[in-house]
Symmetry: C2
Subunit: 126 residues, 2 copies
């Protein structure tokens, strides 16, 4: 089957079904690090080391795995430059930019509402 016929045969997408491929896309985007990678790349192209510095707490291994997962669903473009020393740049595809916009809306909301969210947590820990 070509990718086109795969797409044509899909039933209506439903992330609530564990049989629907949309669930896997959701899981790849909403890993602990996937959200943050999309968020940083939304601000522009980054090299691997730059991404790693920008995202507090991510390990080299988890960052590499996250980038691969997002590349696999067509959200990230990986470009290797055959220069000395060689380097690799990551950027969002048009699809990735659309996804990242939704992620940025979510993280922006969390940041803007953090005082209320932290109060709730403090109250529930009492």
């Amino acid at each position: 089957m070509t990718p086109e016929t795969v797409a044509a045969k899909l039933p209506p997408a439903d992330v609530l079904s564990d049989q629907c491929p949309s669930r896997e896309v959701l899981n790849r985007m909403t890993t602990k690090w996937g959200v943050l990678v999309l968020l940083v790349l939304y601000t522009g192209t980054h090299r691997f080391a730059q991404l790693r510095r920008r995202i507090g707490g991510v390990s080299e291994r988890m960052l590499a795995q996250t980038l691969q997962q997002l590349e696999g669903v067509g959200m990230i473009d990986r470009r290797a430059f055959e220069v000395v020393p060689p380097h690799v740049e990551y950027s969002l595809t048009p699809l990735g930019r659309e996804a990242a916009a939704r992620v940025a809306a979510l993280t922006g909301w969390i940041e803007a509402n953090l005082p209320a969210l932290v109060q709730s947590r403090a109250a529930s820990d009492m």
Copy 2:
């Protein structure tokens, strides 16, 4: 410290910092099941068993843990009814509704763009 003074002392929120409390809120919301729980409760109040039926693949244990995590950041209201047989209802708080709206925008986008996302995956698996 009261919750109010905790909130007043926060530096600007930044999910990219692993020291910022917003990172923990993000992690609780974007677990494998957190996103789906918010999405279902966005459609209305549910009992535990109803939630479990609605979310394909979730175990009783993971659902209970996810509900607790979201309750802990003030997004979910848990009401126990002392009737025979006793039952518990879960609904979104006003804060939870705002969060769920962002989550629904993200999952709606994935569902609407699934053909393109699946084509990318099929192409990258070749």
